[in-house]
Amino acid sequence: MIKLVPRGSSSQSMFILAPIFAIFLTLLTGSIIFFLMGYNPSNALKIFFISPISNAYGISELLVKATPLALIAMGLSFCFKNNIYNIGAEGQLTMGAIFGGGVGIYFYDISSVLILPGMIIAGALGGALWAMIPALLKTKFNTNEILTSLMLAYIALLILDYLVVGPWRDPDGFNFPKTRPFGESGRMPILFQGLRIHFGLIITLILIAFSWFIYSKTIFGFQLKVSGFSPKAARFAGFNKNFLIFSAFAISGAFAGLAGVGEVSGPIGLIYRDISPNYGFTAIIVCFLGRLHPLGIIFASLVIALTYLGAEDAQLFLQIPAAVGFVFQGLVLFFLLGSDLLVNFKLRLNN
């Protein structure tokens, strides 16, 4: 029998190295898979991980994909640090897109510099409000937030469905379920002519810096960390547990909502049902891969964004099915959880 025995003290360096090991093992397993499929592994890996970002447009696309992932993951870290499992970022993103996008649709034919800030604020508010529901249920009724936040994600998607099929449908769109496009004032400014990377990147970087500041320089950040690390100590210290739950949900909801506005007012320009390729769920991987740390999250968001782009190039140049991208995402998570287990526990044979 093999038994898992806690190591007692876990090493700080392994804490940082585990994700890197996980990525390395993913590449190794990936090359074995490529080899077994009959492709030259180094060539396949090059096409998967290098060719998508070999020009300015590719790098811009990487950032377009990484931006919402990093923003949502940063928000989620406020919850996860506090041992609150907000799994419903996808729903908070959707609500952000609905609130923010709603402003954009309402003022579609008006040109004003106030529209975009209005959309951004409304989007953050929408995401935060949606995240308040599981927070309220948890603090009032002690419900499991994993279930409530996840179920609310599907409710948000259905509300979006209802709006684009019904009242918000584009009157000139031949009945297709999408809204009319926002006006120019409702679009995120583009950072470089001809590329799609937009002002949302700047917002994301500012908010990541802001999060780092909260964590390391404020009492609130300290309280979050302590109550996650040792709820008992937090209670003795007299921290307001409910306040911490509400604020963690509010921040992560607002960040996810902002990511939603960023998507609809950035690359998309209107609302339809497929606004997010599951950014809210993928951001959970990003958050843990980045060790809930601002720099780690930036790094992890780029890695995971690359798996999306790489899957497209692998299809185009090697005719490898698109699912290989998800295989890579799954492998990263698998190896990360595996390394974490072995960092904290050791295997012992006993008979």
């Binding site: 190295l17 590449l27 592994p41 060539n43 799609r196 690359p267 185009l316 698109a322």
Partner: protein
């Protein structure tokens, strides 16, 4: 903390070194064939859907077989109809493709957005209505096939209830429902259609759910306007009848599959590729049907359909091809009882392309 930095740096260096070795080991693969034309496709599903995307991929292979070495083709599958589509289309444009087919309705704006930046590259968008100098559109008259399955359904139903799984309430789909109903009600005035809007083209689980719901509501024939064979399989399990969609799906539901409306894109793709190679390609709108061989009925299932009904269906095919039978021949009334196509005339392409109303007799509302 400090004592921990050294091992990190060492391990990082080893990993980076290994990665670098892996990557520099091999040269780039980009081929540099000289005058060979590259043609790319954007697919909404996987070619393995055995429906819409499968048939586009069959068309691509026909084109490749016909044109031989003068072209090479590639495709990107599972491209969502969202902002990602722009990148996928752009990727084809940037990697030297000369002609790019985008094969779903909702790639319309994304196709035009990319086409604007690549004026020398040709684009073709399936089933859309927005064109540009370098963007052509193409579609098939699938509604002609729906006239035939409507006729068959009208004669084969015992419960007089047809379950219809529709995708999106756009003219393409509404036209299909009308065409089906007009033919079905002609041979069976008591027939009723129940429509479920799936709001997806490709979602096997949702499509099967819709089929089961319709069967529970008394439908004994399932008709679909979504991409997979899941509804036909659901019908097979429940012991009711169905029609295949886009391709011959009889192998998946041999006891339910009466026939299917097949989308045959090969001749069109080959024609456009030839035009590209000889330099005569121009933006245009193509809307071809049974006559041109773009819409074909699958083999009629002799285990299910009586011989005389098969003969009738084949005769209808011949009359659609020679022009003596039109799916939308007057008199046609809308649900308000207004005459929209008078006796002796047929609906023109303008009315068909923008069809947003149900014909009289359908007891349902177009989602508004």
């Amino acid at each position: 903390m400090k004592k921990n930095t050294l091992p990190i740096i060492i391990i990082l260096a080893v990993l980076l070194g290994a990665g670098g070795f892996f990557i520099s080991n091999q040269n780039n693969v980009q081929d540099t064939a000289s005058d060979q034309k590259k043609i790319g496709f954007i697919y909404i599903g996987p070619p393995g859907d055995h429906g819409w995307t499968y048939m586009h991929d069959q068309g691509r292979q026909t084109m490749e077989a016909e044109l031989g070495d003068s072209i090479t083709t590639t495709y990107i599958e599972n491209v969502p109809e969202n902002a990602d589509a722009v990148r996928a289309i752009r990727k084809l444009a940037e990697s030297g493709h000369d002609l790019i087919f985008t094969t779903s309705f909702n790639y319309m704006d994304q196709t035009l957005e990319v086409a604007k930046d690549f004026p020398d590259i040709k684009f073709e968008h399936a089933t859309g209505y927005k064109r540009a100098d370098n963007v052509a559109t193409y579609n098939s008259r699938f509604y002609e096939g729906r006239t035939i399955i409507g006729h068959i359904a009208g004669k084969m139903t015992k419960t007089n209830t047809i379950g219809y799984i529709a995708s999106f309430p756009i003219p393409e789909v509404i036209r299909g429902i009308n065409s089906f109903y007009l033919a079905a009600s002609k041979v069976n005035p008591d027939i009723k259609i129940k429509v479920i809007w799936a709001y997806t083209w490709y979602d096997p689980a949702k499509e099967a759910d819709a089929a089961n719901t319709l069967i529970n509501q008394g439908a004994d024939i399932i008709v679909q306007h979504t991409d997979t064979f899941a509804p036909c399989q659901a019908a097979e399990k429940a012991g009711v009848l169905a029609f295949g969609q886009a391709s011959n799906q009889e192998q998946f539901c041999p006891n339910a599959h009466m026939t299917a409306i097949e989308d045959v894109w090969g001749p069109y793709y080959a024609e456009r590729a030839k035009a590209l190679v000889d330099g005569s390609w121009a933006s245009q709108d193509t809307w071809a049907g049974m006559k041109e061989g773009h819409v074909v009925m699958s083999d009629y299932n002799t285990k299910i359909l009586p011989a005389d009904l098969i003969a009738e269906a084949k005769a209808m095919e011949a009359r659609i091809i020679d022009g003596s039978l039109h799916s939308f021949a007057g008199p046609i009334y809308n649900q308000d009882g207004e005459l929209v196509v008078p006796e002796g005339s047929v609906a023109d392409d303008g009315m068909l392309a923008g069809m947003m109303f149900y014909v009289q007799g359908i007891e349902d509302q177009v989602p508004q």
